[in-house]
């Protein structure tokens, strides 16, 4: 088979490999996760090579320990059932040699076994996990009895104390111990513990680890571990040195270095870890929430309680709690750093000196029995002596340490908090770091060293074999030197060179032992899912999880240490971990039945390779477990996002109700009576507006001929009369009352008084209006010789003044038979008065403002002796009447003013009521009244009489045509009826 070249490292690989054997990079696209793929379990243990070597070593040691079968079958039973890697980092196959420099020296020393070991079949993990005992912090302490009663217990009693509530004093002891340890190294910061690891997109946290490790200044400068102590605010932290080495742990939890709250949250997984240890069925929700492991990694374990602490506390108190946080810590304001770390780390002294006799473990249990939570018993002289090397180590480190900057403190705090919370119990508590109690607390370590006289070869080397550690100088903490975190690479490097197998605690040894590597990311989830369905009774008994946390006597039993260590490691790594932290074991992670065919996505977007950690977050287990469940087949398959390929993850049912909103009728709610009334009104209106059908008739015969005939008749008859100028039609000398009233009004006017003549008619009716008004004006001029003022409310009427006067022979000379009225002298044309009713009212009220002309001849409207209204429009005539009547009511001076109406025949009937009511003195309506008035006036000017014969004939023709038309209509009707009757 042809070799495949790795796209990452460029090396050739056999064709049957899916991933690069050198860099674990997927060689085939199938090994990648694309959008739309169905969930498949994939082992991302290929990422293990890029893990720090120390971590791989730990995993390797765990495997080795599993191979040796040191664990009792009963303890590993749950693991066997779950087919899952027992430990947290079991999947991280050791990749020694690639990036050894990535590992801090101190971690190298802790994890001396750096040789990669092949993964082995998973060994049943002990039920009593190492960290499971952390959760049993509330269990009643049984210091020595637990040891006696459970000699075969695999978990050391000192580890059981981890589950006890945090005791700040103990934490401080450990931190100080590490401080001394760092001081023992005596090396300045510049050491570069780790080399850059292979980077991937999803492994930025490793880059952060690398970057943080490379920062020599950060390594040299002490940093505070803000997130390290949950109960301590970051501000109270003080510098510690080697915390940067554990940035990977911070980044592991997904927390940012500069965010203490997040860092605290990141450490919540430890709390969950404890809970899981207490309650084997605790991760019941894990299968459903497969991402909880991330939350657990970064989840905040406990709310932080502010308590000023020394930097040593903040840095390494987790180790203190590891050493036995049995009793609840008493809140204390602060503790001197020097005192905090001297005696606490005596157990590490004992570790360093494996050959030395270890103090009986009864000392520590005795201290616990004293029920003094925050005041552990003083460390025995021997134990303190044993920790001298650590003290010196810490002293040397602390001497170099300087107060770190806040940012560094924050970042560093987040680095180690999670470890610090290992020993934290249900709640972080302010630490009371007192020197003597801390030393007493760590006396169990001395005992541990003593009891573990036959050291296991897998013990941590660095602690006992490092040159700097072997001669432990007196702790400088007692001298007030600030402690420095031992996690400084430059200090741990020598430790790695020494043979620390004899000095490494069992728990560390077990942690470094390589265990069967399983794809934790998948198996852990499965385990959690399984355990969630188990009743509490079926789960691992609490006793199996580990001895009582206060069983300090266990530490003095060296024979139990290895087994307990394995359990601890198992419990430590039994957390649901993503498979990128687990090792690739396809045979363990997947079963044939779990294989799901990959659905190719047909989306427009190109498939994207999902990072392994995202893949690990996919709820594969839940989906696979629910495969075959009725109803899920019908649910859609997710095509995008991290859930691509999963079916039934999102509820199929649509959100909200699918029913349509209830429709409300817009029909008007009317009673029957109302509807009947409405129908009745509708019928009445319809009957009124419905036109009656007209009988069809011939268009030519009925309309045009008739029209032309009538027109021709009128034209001929009237034309003949006009042409002949006949005056044979008599004019009635009887004047109607309204007309006679006009004559009386004219005769009552004073001579030469101003008279307003309103011309308000259209030119089309000028002939009628001139014939009607001519006799009045002639009489008026002849009788009274008034000063006439012509005003028009129609724009086209103002031009008719001269024509009117000409037709009336007023403006003509006396020679021409006229009255010799001269414009400007005897009469004036005021022109157009705009505004309609408003203009009339204004002019009546203040004529000088509306007609600013000298032709007005008056200053007040009342000065006009009479108002003669010549109009062919009833509306305009009514307006004048109304406004004048209104003005008369307002101004009594206007009461005597005479209003005479001269109207067209079409407007007279509508203005007649105003004459009858007395609002107008009189009215001349049409040519009929005009002819009569002219006749009374002596037939002057004679225009009306000229029209009178034609007018009379025209009326007669009209009446005749109307009668004939009526008769014709009657005859046609009778004919139609007869026809209809004959047909019937």
């Amino acid at each position: 088979m042809a070799d495949i070249q790795c796209p990452s490292c460029g090396k050739n690989n056999p064709g049957f490999l899916d991933v690069c054997q050198f860099c674990q990079t997927p060689l085939t696209p199938d090994s990648m996760v694309h959008i739309g793929d169905k969930p498949t379990k994939k082992n991302t243990s290929e990422l293990e090579p890029i893990l720090p070597e120390w971590l791989r070593d730990v995993r390797q040691q765990a495997r080795e320990s599993m191979e040796e079968g040191e664990l009792p079958p009963s303890a590993t039973q749950p693991r066997v059932q779950k087919n899952e890697a027992p430990d947290l980092l079991a999947g991280l196959a050791s990749q020694k040699g690639d990036d050894e420099e990535d590992i801090p020296d101190w971690l190298k020393s802790i994890n001396p076994v750096t040789k990669p070991k092949e993964s082995e079949p998973s060994t049943p993990a002990p039920a009593n996990d190492f960290f499971a005992q952390f959760s049993e912090s509330k269990a009643p302490p049984a210091p020595s009895q637990s040891k006696a009663e459970e000699p075969e217990e695999e978990i050391p009693s000192w580890m059981s104390g981890l589950s006890q509530p945090q005791e700040p004093a103990e934490k401080d002891e450990l931190s100080e111990w590490f401080t001394h340890t760092s001081e023992e190294t005596g090396r300045p910061a510049p050491a570069e513990p780790s080399a850059p690891a292979e980077e991937k997109e999803d492994l930025s946290w490793l880059r952060e680890l690398e970057a943080s490790a490379k920062k020599s200044e950060e390594l040299s400068a002490p940093k505070q571990d803000a997130g390290w102590d949950f109960g301590t605010p970051p501000a109270s932290f003080e510098p510690s040195t080697s915390q940067d080495d554990l940035n990977w742990l911070n980044t592991l939890g997904g927390s940012s270095e500069s965010a203490p709250p997040q860092a605290q949250e990141d450490l919540g997984w430890l709390k969950d870890f404890e809970k899981s240890a207490e309650q084997p069925v605790a991760p019941s929700s894990a299968p459903e929430e497969n991402l909880d492991w991330l939350n657990a990694l970064g989840g905040a374990a406990e709310p932080a309680q502010p308590s000023p602490e020394s930097p040593e506390k903040n840095d390494l108190r987790w180790l203190d709690t590891l050493g036995g946080a049995v009793e609840p810590a008493q809140p204390t304001p602060s503790a001197p750093p020097a005192k905090g770390g001297t005696g606490d780390l005596s157990w590490l002294d004992a570790l360093s000196e494996t050959a030395e006799p270890v103090q009986p473990a009864s000392a520590t249990p005795a201290a616990q029995d004293d029920a003094q939570p925050a005041q552990p018993e003083p460390v025995q002289p021997s134990a303190s002596n044993e920790l001298d090397w650590l003290k010196e180590f810490a002293a040397s480190t602390s001497a170099e340490s300087t107060p770190s900057e806040p940012e560094q403190a924050v970042s560093s705090s987040g680095d180690l908090d999670w470890l610090g919370s290992l020993g934290a119990s249900q709640g972080s508590q302010p630490e009371a770091a007192e020197p003597s109690p801390q030393q007493d607390d760590l006396s169990w370590l001395n005992d541990l060293a003593a009891t573990s006289a036959p050291p296991s070869p897998s013990y941590a080397k660095p602690f006992g074999t490092t040159d700097e550690l072997t001669p432990p100088p007196p702790p400088q903490d007692e001298q007030g030197v600030p402690h420095v975190s031992p996690f400084v690479p430059r200090r741990t490097a020598p430790l790695g060179e020494t043979n620390a197998d004899d000095t490494m605690p069992d728990w560390l040894k077990s942690a470094t032992e390589e265990k069967p590597i399983l794809p934790l990311g998948a198996s852990a989830l499965e385990q959690i899912r399984e355990t969630s369905h188990k009743p509490a009774d079926e789960s691992t008994p609490p006793s199996a999880l580990g001895p009582a946390p206060d069983d300090w006597g266990v530490f003095s039993a060296p024979a139990e240490s290895p087994a307990l260590t394995n359990q601890d490691v198992d419990s430590l790594f039994s957390m649901e971990m993503p498979d990128w932290l687990s090792k690739s074991q396809p045979e363990m992670s997947e079963t044939p039945g779990q294989k799901v065919e990959i659905v190719s996505s047909d989306g427009s977007l190109a498939p994207v390779e999902l990072p392994s950690w995202v893949q690990a977050m996919r709820p594969v287990e839940a989906v696979l477990a629910e495969t075959g469940v009725s109803g899920t087949e019908t649910q859609p398959v997710e095509k995008e996002g991290p859930l691509a390929g999963l079916r039934g993850v999102i509820p199929f049912a649509p959100i909200g109700s699918s029913r349509r909103p209830k429709a409300f009728s817009l029909k008007l709610q009317a009673t029957d009576e109302q509807q009947a009334g409405a129908a009745l009104l509708d019928q009445i209106l319809a009957g009124e507006t419905q036109p009656r059908p007209v009988a069809p008739a011939s268009a030519f015969t009925s309309q045009n001929v008739l029209r032309w005939s009538i027109a021709g008749l009128l034209w001929v008859i009237l034309g003949a009369i006009l042409f002949l100028r006949s005056q044979w039609m008599p004019v009635s000398p009887f004047l109607p009352p309204a007309v006679s009233a006009v004559s009386e009004a004219v005769t009552s006017l004073p001579e030469r008084s101003p008279v307003l003549v309103v011309i308000d008619y259209e030119p089309s009716l000028a002939g009628e209006m001139e014939a009607v008004s001519g006799p009045l004006l002639d009489q008026l001029v002849l009788a009274k010789a008034p000063r006439l003022a012509f005003l028009s409310t129609s724009p086209t009427s103002s031009a008719l003044v001269e024509r009117l006067l000409a037709r009336a022979n007023i403006n003509k000379s006396l020679a021409d038979g006229g009255l010799d009225y001269v414009a400007g002298q005897n009469y004036s044309n005021l022109g157009y008065l705009p505004g309609g009713s408003t203009g009339i009212l204004g002019f009546v009220s203040q004529p000088e403002k509306f007609i600013p002309s000298e032709a007005l001849q008056v200053t007040k409207f009342s000065e006009y002796a009479a108002v003669i209204l010549l109009t062919d429009n009833a509306d305009s005539g009514r307006s004048w009447v109304e406004q004048l009547d209104t003005a008369k009511q307002a101004d009594p001076a206007l009461a005597a003013q005479t209003l005479v109406l001269v109207t067209s025949a079409q407007a007279g009937p509508l203005l007649q009521p105003y004459v009858d009511s007395g609002q107008a003195a009189g009215m001349i309506n049409g040519l009929v009244d005009g002819a009569r008035y002219e006749y009374v006036n002596g037939s002057r000017p004679g225009t009306a009489r000229t029209y009178w014969d034609a007018f009379s004939v025209g009326i007669f023709l009209a009446i005749t045509l109307i009668v004939l038309g009526g008769v014709w209509s009657l005859m046609t009707g009778i004919r139609a009826r007869r026809v209809n009757s004959g047909q019937e």
Binding site: G767, T886, Y947, A950, F951, A958
Partner: protein, 222 residues
């Protein structure tokens, strides 16, 4: 040719064009109508400019703007009315239109109330006053007819009815008779109005025929 002859020729021609309507709507009639409307509008605009704008707005502002500074307000309002020509800015003329309509309505309502409604109501009541009448019976009859016409006309617009057994609406018999007489009064009124229109049109036609004859006679005589 004097102006009178020209005007007579133009008048004669336009009169014939208008009479052409006997043959239906035709371009000659339309031409005469459009010409009449155009000339009337132009003349009205000229009158308005000559009698309103110039003497009442432009001239005072040009001669003595300090004293007539307030005339800017009607000037602006007048120009704002021009905005009505453009729909997009027609809202600018709304204020001026509001003033015109408001003031006009106020004047019309006041005049109608004080000049028509109250006096006419009073006249209807006084119609029955027979004290000073020379012929009381005639006056009484006139008053009765006037009152009957008013009541019957109002009754004609009463649409109250009940549903007949067959479902059709049916007025009361008395109301039906009253309404019938009311409709009679309405018909007479419309007949009188139509007669007045006919008389006015007849006079106008006679005047036009007389002008044509006069024009012809002048042509013949001349």
């Amino acid at each position: 040719m004097n102006i009178e002859l020209i005007s007579a020729i133009v008048g004669f021609t336009l009169t014939l064009l208008v009479f052409s309507y006997l043959f239906g709507d035709n371009p000659l009639f339309r031409f005469a109508v459009y010409l009449f409307i155009g000339v009337s509008s132009g003349y009205a605009a000229a009158v308005i400019w000559h009698y309103v704008l110039m003497p009442k707005l432009i001239t005072p502002l040009m001669n003595d703007p300090n004293r007539n500074i307030l005339l800017i307000v009607p000037l602006v309002l007048s120009f704002s009315l021009l905005a009505k020509l453009l729909p997009r800015i027609s809202w600018l003329g709304a204020f001026a239109m509001a003033i015109l309509v408001g003031v006009g309505a106020a004047a019309a309502v006041g005049g109608a109330l004080l000049g028509t409604l109250i006096p006419q109501a009073q006249a209807s009541i006084d119609a029955f006053g027979l004290g000073g009448a020379s012929n009381p019976f005639a006056k009484l009859g006139e008053a009765v007819v006037m009152l009957a016409g008013t009541v019957l006309t109002l009754a004609a617009f009463h649409f109250g009815a009940k549903r007949a057994p067959d479902g059709t609406p049916k007025r009361n018999v008395l109301v039906e008779w009253v309404a019938w007489f009311g409709r009679l009064f309405i018909a007479i009124t419309f007949g009188v109005l139509f007669a007045g229109v006919y008389l006015a049109a007849l006079v106008a036609m006679i005047e036009r025929l007389g002008s044509i004859i006069q024009f012809i006679l002048q042509l013949i005589g001349s």
